[in-house]
């Protein structure tokens, strides 16, 4: 069984399998990668690169989209 690591996603503590890619994190959260923008440790990761970036303990991930606003 894979070891779990603590990461912070949108301010919430989550346990993610060590070595998981950002694409796998999105799948775990049931989020469509086309519908969110991903920021990993303050750096934007473009959609084609989501499968190449792996998550490590203590990482901060922000997943954003558009909401109503003026």
């Amino acid at each position: 069984m894979k070891q779990l690591v603590d990461v912070v996603v949108n301010g919430e503590h989550k346990q993610i399998a060590q070595g998981a890619t950002l694409l796998e994190v999105l799948a775990e959260l049931e989020l469509d990668p086309r519908a969110v923008v991903v920021e990993h440790n303050r750096r934007i990761v473009r959609r084609p690169g989501l499968g190449d970036v792996t998550v490590a303990a203590g990482d901060a991930i922000e997943l954003v989209h558009f909401v109503g606003g003026g």
């Binding site: 949108n10 519908a35 303050r42 997943l63 989209h65 558009f66 909401v67 109503g68 606003g69 003026g70």
Partner: protein, 264 residues
């Protein structure tokens, strides 16, 4: 002879190389429900609709992106609402661009929580960085001419002075300053924030500005769809009246009917 509507359609608004038929831009916040929002935006005739960048709710049962409810024919203008520093506004703008729709941003750097007045120093700082990065920056600012000139110098695609504080519905408080900004700038001037009802939109457009952006005036009306329609008409009416050129003001009466031909 061309109708007022035809006259307006013959002179579309161009911002940062993009041309828009409607001079009314609308927000997508604060609607009672998504169906009302969709119908109100349709009734407004607006092409540009603003959206905000926020965290996805990780509990997927609760919410979906506003884009789900918006016709893709619209031009999505992301804002940096809620940002209080240049660095935050830059961060939000970059995230918004990554969504892949366009490189326009409605730049807000707020300086005061009570009035939501812009921090013009932070605004200029963020505008310079974002322009360098290729953004088309539409800068939400106050009615100060010098700030507006500096935003233009910084390369902003449009300058957006407020009519009155965001969400206040107080209407155009400073027509002279807005007119002066319009007269002195070369880039489009879009009045953003503060209108409360159709007459406010009309008076604002009569100042000769290039467009108007509003959210609360429509969303918080008792009937948002009807108000959106009224705003559409008022924006067109105000623009048409500006182009028509109003009569001079006089402080004494001048009869409209002939004095001659009266009975003995």
């Amino acid at each position: 002879m061309a109708t007022a509507v035809e006259t307006i359609q013959a002179m579309p608004l161009t911002i940062g190389g993009r041309t828009f038929q409607s001079r009314l831009m609308v927000g997508t916040g604060k609607y009672p429900d998504m169906d009302t929002m969709t119908r109100a935006i349709e009734a407004s005739g607006a092409e540009v609709v603003t959206v905000a960048v926020r965290r996805v709710n990780l509990d997927r049962s609760k919410e979906t992106s506003v884009l789900h409810f918006l016709d893709p024919k619209h031009f999505f203008l992301a804002n940096t609402a809620g940002c209080y520093t240049a660095a935050d506004a830059i961060r939000y703008a970059r995230l918004a661009r990554e969504a892949g729709f366009n490189d326009f941003v409605k730049l807000e750097v707020i300086g005061d929580e009570e009035t939501l007045m812009p921090d013009v120093q932070g605004l200029l700082e963020a505008a310079k960085v974002l322009v360098q990065e290729g953004f088309k920056v539409l800068a939400y600012t106050n009615e100060d001419l010098v700030t507006a000139l500096r935003l233009e110098d910084a390369g902003c695609a449009a300058v957006m002075p407020l009519a009155s504080p965001i969400g206040s519905g107080l209407g155009l408080l400073n027509p002279l300053s807005v007119r002066t900004i319009k007269r002195r700038l070369h880039v489009p001037v879009i009045v953003d924030a503060g209108v409360g009802t159709a007459s406010d939109a009309c008076v604002t457009m009569e100042q000769g500005v290039d467009g108007i952006l509003m959210n609360t005036a429509i969303a918080a009306a008792q009937d948002p769809v009807a108000m959106a329609h009224a705003m559409r008409l008022a924006t067109i009416a105000g623009r048409a009246a500006y182009l028509a050129g109003r009569m001079p003001r006089r402080e004494i009466a001048v009869p409209s009917s002939p004095n001659r031909g009266m009975l003995d």
